[in-house]
Symmetry: C2
């Protein structure tokens, strides 16, 4: 099935053609998965093999402002800099907008402001596409349900499906070939004591995109066959840990899930290894600290950087251990 | 089933009591697995979940000399130094000998010479137990078939089952609960151009023994469920590669198999990570060199050190890349 068919389905064949407001605004936070999304059952629609669960970073995200452009092409401004229309970023954005205009002749001036640390592996495309969808919803007055916005954001970037909400979000894998049951769902848990700290090991570009790494894993790693069972178990443990506020259970399961994801990559061919020597050094440091009684865990996405998980009361000890850590706010109360 | 029952079975209930020779001699090489042994279906008998395949290092091994002791206890001399009888090494050796003497009153002077680099992760216990079994066979004139010697060596240390032969050896997992079908088999391939180079990253003691790491993996890693299928596939590819002398296929499969083994450990809980920062740095160096066209691969056992795999013609290039590499002879012809 094609993305355009999904869009047509959501709009019952009638995609609004006229901007209802002068400006369309959309904000979406980025998110960190505690139970990872790794591997697609449909690469066209970004449908995952498994469900996943994330926590939003409310202060780190993308603000997108849309206005109709008077030129017959897009203008894209990212953090106050105009982006070349032949860049990968612009091409992906344009291809996404094409889904909504079919043969219509409107063009947008797209102003995106992201305050996501560059190269920290904080899924800027998730927050970017989610904010773009929200801004389109505003501009054209789509009045879509958030589930549908989540589905549309997913067509841009898989994990964008989770960036429509703050707090904890579960992205249901769904089973339908058209993916109409594959969207995010906010989970009604708050945990103001929970902290995330970013350890940036490298700002170099990734040696392999997560899109490509995922596909190589699915196609070549025999251990990936056990990944769905691992996710299903971890997801249920994490939700249970959220229910009873058991930090060690939550963070330990998140760490194990991330390591298992990297394990599926290591066992791919060619091997995919996002670990840098510094990544492994930091992991050993975390494990040593844990043996000394510190409740410190980590998660790692498709990049070399670690995201530390700890409780607010341990902030000083974590900062003493990792003076370079960037601590990220998760809940308003903190 | 108990080890003593297996021994009794092999000797049809009549274990020879009398030394036939004044001295018993046994030599056994150590071995490096190209398809790994990871996980036991029976921890008492060291029966593996999967078959495995190794190459012997003919010059690196253990020479064991046995004589009857005039004291009523063992004397154990390892590399010209007497070992305390309450040490782990002596206790394991003594427990092994107990299998053969039941209530008989003989004691041995055991002289073991190993020329295996310390802490390079070269499975000294494999070669040690295999040489001890050969020396017992000589001293008591057991006249056992090598399959039976392999089974007996396995009771001491799993991978010792492969150390009874030089060259390539397959250790059949077997299916019998008594393990009488779980022994090594030499494979009639020679490959004088094949080279192994040891990269020693650390001489520190392992943070966790392979025996314990294996058990934690089997008990806690969901990805381990896919390990038997991975081994079965790799084993068949490696044998095919040996048949047609396809080095890239052989070494690539060995590398993938080793990475998958470490992947099962990473996804265990608590996580098991034998990688040091230096290990990861060396891996990236190997992968980069391969992208430059060098046919260089690695395998890694339950320790931080890498064993490089390459062809003789590339020796100079490998030494230029890794000046510290220790190159190990595999075949007499080399």
């Amino acid at each position: 099935m094609k993305k355009s068919e999904v869009v047509s389905h959501i709009f019952h064949g009638h995609i609004p053609k006229t901007a209802k407001h002068e400006k369309g605004l959309g904000y979406a936070p980025t998110n960190i998965a505690l139970c990872k999304y790794w591997g697609k059952r449909d690469t066209e629609l970004n449908l995952p093999h498994t469900s996943s669960l994330s926590i939003a970073l409310p202060d780190k995200g993308s603000m997108t402002t849309l206005t109709l452009n008077d030129k017959s092409s897009e203008t894209i401004i990212l953090n106050d800099k105009e982006i070349a229309l032949d860049s990968v970023f612009a091409q992906r954005t344009k291809a996404f907008l094409d889904l909504f205009r079919a043969n219509q002749k409107w063009y947008l001036k797209i102003n995106i402001n992201m305050n996501i640390p560059v190269a920290a592996g904080l899924a800027s495309s998730a927050s970017g596409f989610a904010s773009l969808v929200c801004a389109l919803n505003d501009l054209f007055d789509w009045k879509l349900h958030k589930n549908d916005l989540s589905i549309l954001a997913r067509l841009g970037s898989g994990s964008a499906a989770r960036s429509l909400w703050t707090g904890f979000v579960e992205w249901h894998a769904g089973v339908r070939p058209d993916g109409m049951d594959s969207f995010g769902e906010p989970l009604a848990f708050e945990w103001p004591e929970l902290c995330v700290g970013i350890l940036t090991m490298s700002s170099d570009e990734k040696p392999i995109s997560s899109r490509e790494a995922m596909q190589t894993t699915v196609n070549s790693s025999l251990l990936y066959n056990s990944w769905p069972r691992k996710v299903s178990q971890d997801l249920s443990i994490i939700k249970q840990a959220l229910q009873v506020k058991n930090f060690a259970l939550l963070a330990g399961t998140a760490e194990s899930n991330a390591l298992a994801m990297h394990a599926t990559m290591l066992s791919s061919w060619p091997p995919i290894c996002y670990f840098l020597p510094e990544t492994i050094a930091a992991m050993h440091k975390v494990w040593d600290a844990r043996k000394q009684g510190l409740q410190l865990y980590f998660t790692e996405d498709a990049g070399p950087n670690l995201k530390l998980l700890f409780l607010k009361e341990d902030t000083a000890r974590v900062q003493a251990l990792f003076p370079e850590v960037e601590i990220i706010r998760l809940f308003d109360q903190v």
